[in-house]
Structures are given as structure tokens and as C-alpha cells.
């Protein structure tokens, strides 16, 4: 009987459901008498609704109701801020007044018998506005300091940090790089569009929703409607990609619940692809200035990193844009400053590797520019500035495998054959470039609960209200449970995605494996110990048979004081080969090797998928993704998947490798895992633009690296 499952390349336990179409996503739970909702959205960036005429829509065939700010019930919108919500500001209230603060704001909901009728009637709602002046051009906004954010744990994400004398050190540095790097707005664009089905039973509400955090969705909607959180059940077994877009509870969830209440029957709302650019958040546009000073021999003397990003007029969203610059390299003089550009847009949100993906693009681009200025190999420059400890937190690293990552990736890639001079490598008429960058992402560990139930027939059910947007929570938790229980994997059933299950933290920030995994492991160990003790047997199957009834164990796990004692991060290195067509300016990624020190790998098969998927996401960020914000009016003219290109099959590099270096971290959490979902996205874009520089001699400081910038 094999029970060693952690570390094994187990195929997905939900694989059969997914390849047969049986896995059901949010929009796929049809209820009797279900109606369909379609959202009408604002067409001005700021102002008031002067008139709204829904008469034609109401006469439309099959139309059940049309809700606007005039007839919608006033909702309590009680205070609630989940960990995923901006801590400063107030969330958008829907259909509560005539104010419009951005393009695409929901201003009416049409409910009809069929989706065709609802959509058609939505187009018949006539709206006029009294526009007011608006701000949608980031180049004309004066960025401001974020409001200080304090919590029980102290200051959240300090907007400014400083050590040493950065200005003085920079002024006297022998070699300097001072540049501005721009990253445009990006949209998550999961292939599953956001959807919610809402059904009321008296004052109890059930939501089938696309969410990365069922409990937070329940708490938010309960606060919005002023009902107890336990009256809201949220069900979300499968999430068709999210990458952060399903962390918060967006206005359409409220609209679905409002609509269901008004119609007196279940209502389904599914956003259109165009609405995905207005109805859910996005990775914000950032502008970053990086100044590096170094001695002639390559030792960093100063790092100054100043960045600002767009946010809405009603909330201060900020991300960890500058975190890596504070500790990634050894440097005595560091200054970081984070600011916000308030605009008439909807609030941005976390997108895969939030902060790190864009911040490390700037830092690692500047490091490459410094290597060029020093005439030094970029790997050598990084090794020379490798810190012994986190110089920002003044703590030792729980583990840090950057050296091993550089070595492993460089070897696999063949980095030693690189010719240093730009434009010196060719393949026929194509320019070949090799570039690299460092990657890092924090290890996050949050409180989690799990329940394990052993049945007399020797099977087990293990539950936690976690989510699986693709990394394989269903599978990896089954592995952890089977190993901790000492049962074959076929006898263990893990269930997630329902608020009736024990609390789980948000499925984001690469913390699910560490947090939920630790809870699952602890619950299963306890259930096994209890069963063996009560059954008076050394064999678990014999013990549960003797007991003759289920043995249950529920466990809550909490982080200890490890974050006070250690700086905990995953680290990695990405090496890339590009071919640039000198006549067409087109960049193709030919080879990409990532090496990661991410602690224990529970399932190498799934982890490889997650890593190469993140690298593909990085290709999109580097070469194509850009949600254009029309500065004149705040519209996104390319709000679809044809004009907002994302990587397709043909963009996949022929060579893709993800290497996991051996790393035993005893400090991070009981499982010794760090998570890989986010770090796989970090460092890819700068590795590609650094390779483009090596190929062409042109430095791309504004993403994406489209052909027009290379001609």
C-alpha cells in the first residue's frame, strides 16, 4: 500500500470532470425559474445621471424588471473590508444614487426570461448625463502619497522606506543608471467570464459565484445587504481561471442578488468579455523611476526606486511595487517611495504577482543596464550583490536559493556560451538575444481550518472552504490528506469551495498550499491519531472498522512567530532566448528556463504546469498585453481578446523548462512549502526585454515590447 504522496507527480483528481465537460463553473448551476440579468453601464467618466428612461426596456419581450438608482432598494452597505479590499476608501455602491465616477459603472440591471431578451432590453435603456470634468490621463495627474495604513500587525506596506544616504551615495557613485520604466494596465482575462447566480429563500441567499474566497464573498454581500453572514451561502467548486480577478466581490455579485430579490426568482448574471474590462479590476498602469549607483567593481552603493500607479477616485489600491527593491540585493543606501495617481477609473486590483511583476520589471531592467554600463556579466553582477540577510527587515532569510537557481538555470540554458556584445548573436537574418532576471515573491501563510472525517469503510472525506482556480488544490490537498492519514489516495476525497466547509483563507498570494495544506495535514493527523487510540489498533483500517462510526477531527492552524524571526520568500531566476526580426520588429521567445527555490514541491507535475503557465503569462506582459485607456474619455477601446492580445499556442517557446532546486525550509510552515503561482510570473518580462537589448541594442523601458518600439 503506497501512501507516500507528497512529492509525487499525481494526475489531477478532477481531471476526468474537466476533460468531459462535467466540471461545473459558476454560470452552470441552472435553477428552476431562473431569469437572466444584463447590466447597463455608464458612458461618461464622471458626472451625474440626468435622466434614465427604461420604458422601452420594460416593454421588451420577456422583461421581468429594470432596476435603476430610482427604483432599486437602498442597501445598508455596512462597513466590511476583507484582506483583499483596499483598506482606504469605500467600495462602489451600485444603483444607490445618480453619481457616476468612471466609464462602465453599472447604472441599471435588466432582468428577463432569457439571456437574449435581457441583453436586447439593456440596449434600450436611454440615459442622459450631466458630465463633470474628469481625469483619465495618467500623464497629467500629480501622484499623491497614499494614506497611511495601520493594522494590528503594524503598518501595511509602508509607502516609503529609507536606509543610509541614498542621494549622497548615488551622487558619488562611480557608475550610475537612472531610468524610467512604464508598465501599462493589464487585465487578468481569465477565459471564464465572471458570473453569479443568486437565489433567495426568505432572508437567506445562495450565490453560485466565481470567487477565490467564498467566505469573504459571503461576508461582503451580507454587509451590503445588512444580513448575517451565516445567511449567505457561497458555492464555487471550480473557477475558470482568475489570476486575482476573483479576489474581491465585484458589483455584479450585488446586482445579481438585487435582481433576484426584485424578480422574486433566481437570477444569473454573466459579464460579457467587454464588461470584463470595466466590471472587475486590473493590474494598474505604473510609472517607476529607478536609480542605481555602483562602484566600478560592481558593488551596489545606492538603490532609489520611486513608483506610482493608477487608482480610482473612491478607493486607494496599492500593491507591493517596491518591496523587492528593499531586500533583493545587498545595498547600504536605499530609498523607495510609492505614490498613487487618482483617476476617474474603477479600482484596480491584484493580478498574478501583484507588485512584484511590475516592480521587479523595473529593478531587473535597471540591473541589466548597470551590468552593461559595468561591462559585466549580468549573473556575475547579481552574485556580487547577493545579501547574507534581509537588510530591510534586518532578519535572516528562512532560506534563499538564488545562487542555486542562477547556477541551475544558467547550466540548463547554456549561458556560458553567451557572447556579451549586443547584436553579436544571429540566426540567419534574425537577431538573437540572451537575457536573464531574478525573481522573488513572499511566502504567505494565513490562518486556515480543515476537517477530516474517517469512515468505518476505511475511506475519508477532508474539507476546507478553499478554492482551485487552476493550480490543483483539489489534487494537492488530496495528496497531503492521503499521506497524513496513511490511506491510499483513491480512498480520500477532498472537498472545497463552499461556505459550509471550514474557513479557508483567500486563494491568492501563493498561500493556499502553505496555509490550507498545513490545516489539512494537521486535521488528518489528528483524525488518524484519534481513530488509532479509540479503536485500540495499530492499523487504521482495523481501528475505524472497530469504532464503527465516523471519526472527525477539525483543526485550525495559525502562523507562529516565524515572520518575526525570518524573512520568508521564494526566489528564482529566469533565462530567456529571443529572436528579433530586424525588418519587422517582431520578437519571438525561443527558449525559457526558470529555476525556483520554492521549498517543498507537493506535486511536480502540477507545479511544472503552474510555472510554465506563469512564464507564458510573462510573455504576454513583455510582448503584447496592454489595456489601452483612452486618455480623452477613460474608455478601453481594445476591450476584447482580439485587440488585447494574450499569448496563444504559436507564442509558446519551443523550449520551456521549470527547475525546482532542492530546498528544505524548516521555518516557513509545517509543510515546508512556499508556493509558486506568483513567482513564476516574476522576472519573465525583464528577462525578455533584457534579451531584446542583447539582440538589438535597444532598451525597452515601456512595456509591451511591440514591433513599433523595435523599428
Amino acid at each position: 500500500m503506497t501512501t507516500a504522496f507528497i512529492g509525487q507527480p499525481v494526475s489531477r483528481v478532477d481531471g476526468r470532470q474537466k476533460v468531459t465537460g462535467a466540471a461545473r463553473y459558476a454560470a452552470e448551476f441552472d435553477l428552476p425559474r431562473q431569469a437572466h440579468g444584463a447590466i447597463v453601464r455608464s458612458t461618461v467618466a464622471n458626472g451625474r445621471i440626468a435622466s434614465i428612461d427604461s420604458a422601452a426596456a420594460e416593454r421588451g419581450p420577456g422583461v421581468v424588471a429594470v432596476l435603476t438608482h430610482r427604483n432599486a432598494p437602498r442597501l445598508p452597505y455596512s462597513p466590511h473590508k476583507g484582506a483583499v479590499d483596499p483598506q482606504v476608501g469605500e467600495r462602489l455602491h451600485v444603483l444607490q444614487d445618480d453619481r457616476v465616477s468612471h466609464q462602465g459603472q453599472p447604472i441599471a440591471l435588466v432582468i428577463a426570461d432569457t439571456v437574449e431578451q435581457a441583453r436586447h432590453a439593456a440596449a434600450l435603456v436611454r440615459v442622459t448625463y450631466t458630465p463633470e470634468s474628469w481625469t483619465t490621463d495618467i500623464t497629467r495627474v500629480a501622484p499623491v502619497q497614499p494614506t497611511q495604513q495601520k493594522t494590528d500587525q503594524g503598518e501595511v506596506r509602508p509607502p516609503a522606506t529609507r536606509r543610509g544616504d541614498p542621494e549622497g551615495a548615488l551622487a558619488s557613485a562611480e557608475v550610475k543608471v537612472e531610468q524610467t520604466y512604464i508598465h501599462p494596465r493589464e487585465n487578468h482575462n481569465p477565459i471564464e467570464m465572471h458570473a453569479t447566480i443568486a437565489a433567495w429563500d426568505g432572508d437567506r441567499l445562495t450565490l453560485w459565484d466565481k470567487t477565490q474566497w467564498v467566505h469573504n464573498t459571503a461576508e461582503e454581500i451580507a454587509a451590503v445587504f445588512g444580513i448575517p453572514a451565516q445567511n449567505v451561502r457561497v458555492i464555487s467548486p471550480f473557477v475558470g481561471g482568475a489570476f486575482g480577478s476573483s479576489l474581491r466581490t465585484w458589483p455584479h455579485v450585488t446586482l445579481a442578488a438585487l435582481g433576484a430579490r426584485a424578480a422574486g426568482r433566481p437570477v444569473k448574471v454573466m459579464l460579457s468579455r467587454r464588461e470584463m474590462y470595466y466590471g472587475v479590476g486590473y493590474r494598474p498602469h505604473t510609472v517607476q523611476q529607478v536609480a542605481l549607483g555602483a562602484s566600478r567593481d560592481g558593488r551596489l552603493a545606492a538603490i532609489m526606486h520611486d513608483g506610482y500607479q493608477e487608482t480610482s477616485t473612491y478607493e486607494e489600491f496599492s500593491e507591493a511595487l517596491l518591496n523587492a527593491s528593499r531586500f533583493l540585493y545587498s545595498c547600504p543606501n536605499v530609498d523607495t517611495r510609492h505614490r498613487l495617481a487618482r483617476m476617474n477609473v474603477h479600482t484596480p486590483t491584484y493580478m498574478r504577482a501583484p507588485g512584484e511583476a511590475s516592480g521587479v520589471f523595473a529593478l531587473e531592467s535597471a540591473m541589466d543596464e548597470l551590468a552593461v554600463a559595468l561591462n559585466m556579466d549580468p549573473v556575475e553582477l547579481r552574485l556580487l550583490n547577493e545579501p547574507e540577510r534581509d537588510e530591510f527587515k534586518k532578519l535572516p532569510f528562512s532560506s534563499r536559493s538564488t545562487r542555486a537557481c542562477y547556477r541551475a538555470a544558467a547550466e540548463r540554458f547554456g549561458w556560458s556560451r553567451r557572447s556579451a556584445q549586443p547584436r553579436s548573436m544571429r540566426d540567419g537574418r534574425l537577431l538573437i538575444g540572451w537575457g536573464m532576471a531574478t525573481a522573488t515573491y513572499p511566502m504567505n501563510f494565513a490562518p486556515a481550518s480543515a476537517m477530516a472525517r474517517l469512515l468505518p469503510d476505511g475511506t475519508a472525506e477532508v474539507t476546507s472552504a478553499a478554492s482551485d482556480m487552476g493550480p490543483g488544490t483539489w489534487t494537492s490537498m488530496t495528496q497531503v490528506a492521503a499521506e497524513a492519514l496513511g490511506l491510499p489516495i483513491e480512498r480520500v476525497k477532498f472537498v472545497l469551495g463552499d461556505t459550509r466547509l471550514p474557513n479557508a483563507p483567500v486563494h491568492g498570494g501563493s498561500l493556499t498550499m502553505a496555509s490550507v495544506g498545513s490545516a489539512v495535514q494537521a486535521a488528518c493527523r489528528k483524525a488518524r491519531e484519534d481513530a488509532l487510540a479509540r479503536g485500540g489498533a495499530n492499523d487504521l483500517l482495523e481501528a475505524v472498522r472497530r469504532i464503527g462510526q465516523p471519526v472527525e477531527a477539525s483543526v485550525d492552524t495559525n502562523p507562529g512567530d516565524e515572520s518575526q524571526r525570518f524573512s520568508m520568500h521564494a526566489f528564482g531566476a529566469v533565462f530567456v532566448e529571443v529572436a528579433v526580426d530586424p525588418d519587422l520588429g517582431e520578437t519571438r521567445v525561443r527558449s525559457m528556463v526558470g529555476a525556483y527555490g520554492a521549498g517543498r514541491i507537493v506535486n511536480p507535475k502540477l507545479t511544472r504546469s503552474q510555472c510554465i503557465g506563469g512564464m507564458i503569462g510573462g510573455i504576454g506582459m513583455a510582448l503584447m498585453e496592454h489595456a489601452v485607456l483612452d486618455a480623452r474619455n477613460g474608455r478601453v477601446p481594445n476591450a476584447n481578446l482580439a485587440e488585447y492580445p494574450v499569448p496563444v499556442h504559436a507564442d509558446t517557446p519551443p523550449v520551456m523548462e521549470a527547475i525546482f532546486v532542492e530546498e528544505h525550509d524548516l521555518h516557513v510552515n509545517p509543510l515546508g512549502v512556499k508556493g509558486v503561482g506568483e513567482i513564476a510570473m516574476v522576472g519573465v518580462a525583464p528577462a525578455i526585454t533584457n534579451a531584446i537589448f542583447h539582440a538589438t541594442g535597444k532598451r525597452i523601458r515601456e512595456l509591451p515590447a511591440t514591433p513599433d518600439k523595435l523599428l
Binding site: S11, T20, A27, I191, G470, I616
Partner: protein, 204 residues
């Protein structure tokens, strides 16, 4: 003239007659044109449509604007075919029509009479998965699973068309099916595996 062109022209004629409003599609949220507004007053006459899906006949009464995708998802509750854009851009809705891959979000259900439609639910032979379905599990050719149905249906067609000769060829001919999780490398491997399997050119 190919059958694809006929279909497209027929679609254009029919969409013009119904106000051009495909559900889940390119709907703008501003005011519509007066012509379309007039259409609102008149109820589109429901159509009796006989659809043959996965070898079974279904008689449906449909709004003429109903796409094949919405017909199978909303009316037949075959939700394996996915809606990812409603604009023919992502491929998640790919089904086989008379053995050829089509994007069901761009196909009007009313035009599918007499066609043999195969969705992901019709691919396996009972409990036995199609070789490409099995290869998808073995190769871990998906993560979230939402584009998977479309990838598999397109992959089956890609093999049947003889476009699975090399990884490069597969990448080219599969590029109409987006995967935001980035499982492309493994999808190509799965299609190669299935193309080499003896029974791969069945199904659909």
C-alpha cells in the same frame, strides 16, 4: 464556395433580420439605433428548431437570436461547451459540426438543423475516454479547465485534419484556442500523443 461561407452569409442575413444582437456578444451599452429600437417593440417569433447533438435529437423552441452555444448551455444544460467571449476570439466554445470545428458562439442554433453536432459531452464512448481526453489528463494539459473542452474539440479536429504532424504545426493550427493558464506546452504534447494513438481519428 465552401460550406463555411454559406454559413456566414446565412448568419449575416439572419442577424440583420433580428437586430444583430447575439447574446453574450458585441453589445454596446449605449443607446441603440432607431431601427433596432423599433425591433424591440415587435416580439421575435420563436422558432422550432431540431438540433442533433451527440447523436440525439432535441426539439427546441428558440429565440431566433439564440446561438448554438447558448442553445446547448442554457436550453439543453450541456455546459461542457464554454463561453469565454461570445465573439469567436477565444475558442472555448469549439464544437464539431459534421466533424469540422466551429465556434458555437458565432453559430446561430437555427442554422444548425440537419447538422451533426458533437460537444465535449459526446466525445467519450461511455466510460472510455477519447484518446485525447486521456492524454490531456496524463500530460496535465490544463489547469483551471475552462478552455479545456474547446481545446480538446479543436485538438480532435486538428488531428483529423492532418495538422498534427509536428509541434510547430500543432501550435499553428491550435492558435485559435486561448488558454490563459498557459498550458500550451502540455496541450501540444497531449495532441501529439493522441495523434499517435490508433483510435485517435474517431470521435466527432
Amino acid at each position: 464556395m465552401s460550406s463555411d461561407e454559406i454559413t456566414r452569409r446565412e448568419v449575416l442575413v439572419l442577424t440583420a433580420a433580428t437586430g444583430g444582437l447575439l447574446a453574450g456578444g458585441q453589445l454596446m451599452w449605449g443607446p441603440v439605433s432607431p431601427a433596432a429600437a423599433q425591433d424591440a417593440a415587435s416580439t421575435p417569433t420563436p422558432l422550432e428548431v431540431m438540433l442533433r447533438i451527440n447523436g440525439k435529437e432535441h426539439r427546441l423552441t428558440l429565440d431566433p437570436r439564440t446561438t448554438l452555444l447558448d442553445a446547448v448551455r442554457e436550453h439543453l444544460h450541456l455546459t461542457g461547451s464554454k463561453k469565454g467571449c461570445g465573439l469567436g476570439q477565444c475558442g472555448a466554445c469549439t464544437v464539431l459540426m459534421d466533424g469540422k470545428r466551429v465556434k458555437s458562439c458565432l453559430s446561430l442554433a437555427a442554422l444548425m438543423e440537419g447538422r451533426e453536432i458533437t460537444t465535449i459531452e459526446g466525445l467519450a464512448q461511455g466510460e472510455v475516454l477519447h484518446p485525447l481526453q486521456a492524454a490531456f489528463i496524463e500530460r496535465d494539459a490544463f489547469q483551471c479547465g475552462y478552455c479545456t473542452s474547446g481545446q480538446i474539440m479543436a485538438g480532435v479536429a486538428c488531428i483529423n485534419e492532418g495538422h498534427a504532424g509536428s509541434p510547430e504545426e500543432i501550435r499553428e493550427w491550435m492558435s485559435g484556442n486561448l488558454c490563459r493558464c498557459g498550458a500550451y506546452d502540455h496541450i501540444v504534447a497531449a495532441i501529439q500523443d493522441a495523434a499517435a494513438a490508433p483510435s485517435a481519428t474517431q470521435g466527432g
